[in-house]
């Protein structure tokens, strides 16, 4: 019984159980049925939660599974958005720009990975470096307001960002573009697919070694695995997922701006992940949703100090629910259902 819930606490390399698959099935049905009852404004709000949850996933995958905190996942998020925007506006077509919005950040992460993973940089410097990189990109983008900063026909526009980013076209029929509800379906499909994909990745030999690195990197090395290769691959992959998030963000809002790289955005991702719980992949998705809705609710209540409130929420979570919301709930449910046995007991 216990292990049925382990996926919602601290997943290991074991195959997810029946409860997890049922959860996926139900969640998918619900998510795809929601447009029947929600209006377009509500769909728009929910879409961006899914889009940003991809960014949270990219971080928690790296942090919760491999033990690397990449503070600056926004570097790849912003890069994905800008690559899509600039390429789509130049070429008119959006299919290739969409793919580049994933691949360019992935390649950029791989490049950084070569220096940072193979350069034997310690974990704490790694976190700081990623943050520095995203802040540099933020600063660089803000400095592009002059007329000379043009890529093809597109002005980068400095801190005003690039408006009018084209909506996604149907690849086989470019005259049809995705409308709000289509973007909703696409974001929903992507979050489900990426979540399931990353979860199942853990059951492969590659993923099981990643979990091993999280548990004890020295032991992984002593068994003969080159931990750096695995970290490098995981970092590149997470860069790709963050890039996908940024691309979808650009499509969702028809807009990109330097804030995508900014400190505020970077900090928000951490809050989503910590509140939801980094050890599970579902936690950060939930965390993103809660914080996003909390933020906009606070806005409508006329609370001026939204950042302050978010800060308090973060502190409360760090102190009260060390593992985050989802793992804490998971443990609670598991305890209600069965004796003293703990996670991962069976199999």
């Amino acid at each position: 019984m216990q292990r049925l819930f382990s996926d919602f606490r601290r997943p290991s390399g074991q195959r997810p159980g029946a409860i997890w698959w049922s959860f996926i099935a139900v969640a998918t049905v619900v998510v795809f049925a929601l447009p029947q009852v929600l209006d377009l404004a509500q769909l728009l709000d929910l879409s961006v939660v899914f889009v940003l949850a991809l960014l949270a996933l990219s971080m928690s995958f790296l942090w919760g599974y491999v033990g690397i905190l990449s503070f600056g996942q926004t570097a790849f998020f912003g890069l994905g958005g800008y690559v899509y925007a600039v390429a789509a506006m130049n070429w008119g077509d959006t299919t290739l720009p969409f793919l580049l919005g994933i691949l360019v950040p992935l390649a950029f992460a791989a490049l950084l990975g070569v220096f940072m993973v193979y350069g034997k940089i310690s974990d704490i410097y790694f976190s700081v470096m990623t943050l520095v990189i995203t802040l540099i990109l933020n600063k660089a983008m803000r400095a592009t307001s002059g007329d000379q900063y043009v890529i093809g026909d597109v002005r980068l526009n400095g801190q005003n960002g690039i408006p009018g980013v084209p909506p996604l076209q149907v690849p086989w029929n470019p005259t049809v573009t995705l409308f709000i509800d289509h973007v909703y379906y696409l974001s929903a499909a992507l979050i489900v697919l990426v979540y399931v994909g990353l979860r199942l990745l853990l059951t492969t030999s590659f993923g099981r070694v990643l979990v091993g690195i999280r548990e004890n990197e020295r032991r992984i090395e002593l068994l003969g695995y080159d931990a750096r290769r695995y970290k490098f691959a995981a970092f590149a992959l997470s860069g790709g997922v963050a890039g996908l998030s940024g691309t979808m963000f650009a499509i969702w809002g028809n807009f990109v701006a330097p804030e995508m790289f900014g400190l505020g955005q970077a900090a928000e991702v951490i809050i989503w992940v910590i509140v939801g719980g980094k050890s599970t992949l579902i936690g950060p998705i939930v965390g993103t949703g809660i914080i996003q809705y909390l933020t906009s609710w606070l806005g409508t209540q006329g609370v001026g100090q939204v950042t302050l409130v978010l800060g308090v929420v973060l502190v409360v979570f760090v102190l009260l629910f060390k593992e985050g919301l989802v793992p804490t709930l998971g443990s609670l449910i598991a305890r209600l259902f069965g004796g003293r046995r703990k996670q991962g007991e069976a199999e």
């Binding site: 030999s205 979990v211 032991r219 068994l223 695995y225 007991e345």
Partner: protein
């Protein structure tokens, strides 16, 4: 590479490790022949664990050379040395606490085998070490002795050519110690082994040649009974661990 070609399966030449001002390993020349079951003894702080860590690449030597199976491995990363066929059980349990014992063994076995082979290897180790009672439990929840067994199992599952065991019987009861000693003798039929131990009964049970470390240096190296009746060795141990 300087000097003569390396001897034995493991050789160190003038191996040194300095931590701040502490000469933890201070010019060790050590030769191990293939097939040996060597015991390494010495008082606390003699440098035994540091020596093991140097040989497995967990720390880099300050000076000197290490050869394994004819290759110089002095500057190798620990995964490279592991791949050449060295397995180690560290002094402190060094396992995957958040994973089940079976998953621990699988991670060890799958490196050296294909999928089916790894699964078979895991079952074999479970059978051989009688881990069946707790393979499904998280290693972090097991008793100290059981975790040691899991770690020994992980080392075995990779089928290394050289096994280094740092105090394998620590935290075990008398009956478990006897089992461990028997297991080592059995493993020794196919594998070269070096064991660090403080328990003299245990050493007498398994040892042939014993190397004594003291203050980072090799103090003596001889047959077990010669070493244990050596006055200087007794002196070094006096007031620390009793030499029976």
């Amino acid at each position: 590479m300087t000097g003569a070609s390396p001897k034995g399966i493991l050789e160190t030449r003038d191996l040194r490790k300095v931590f701040g001002g502490v000469h933890a390993v201070d010019g060790v020349d050590f030769v191990l022949k293939e097939g040996e079951l060597r015991c390494l003894i010495g008082p606390n702080g003699a440098g035994k664990s540091t020596f093991f860590k140097l040989v497995t690449g967990q720390i880099q030597p300050s000076d000197g050379q290490i050869f394994f199976d004819g290759h110089e491995v002095s500057a190798h990363a620990s995964h490279e040395i592991a791949r050449l066929g060295v397995g180690i059980k560290n002094q402190k349990p060094d396992v995957f606490d958040g994973l089940s014992a079976r998953e621990n063994l699988w991670l060890a076995a799958q490196f050296a085998h294909d999928k089916a082979g790894a699964r078979r290897q895991v079952e074999e180790v479970i059978e051989r070490l009688q881990l069946g009672g707790f393979v499904h439990r998280l290693v972090g929840e097991l008793a100290h002795g059981q975790r040691q067994w899991v770690e020994i199992g992980m080392v075995m599952a990779r089928e290394p050519r050289l096994i280094l065991l740092d105090e394998p019987s620590a935290g075990m009861g008398q009956e478990e110690r006897v089992r461990t000693a028997e297991l080592l003798k059995e493993l020794n039929r196919t594998t070269t082994i070096v064991v660090v131990e403080h328990d003299m009964q245990f050493i007498k049970r398994i040892a042939d040649i014993v190397t004594v470390f003291h203050r980072g240096k090799v103090l003596r190296e001889a047959k077990v009974d010669v070493v244990l009746s050596d006055p200087e060795v007794r002196d070094v141990y006096l007031g620390r661990t009793e030499v029976a």
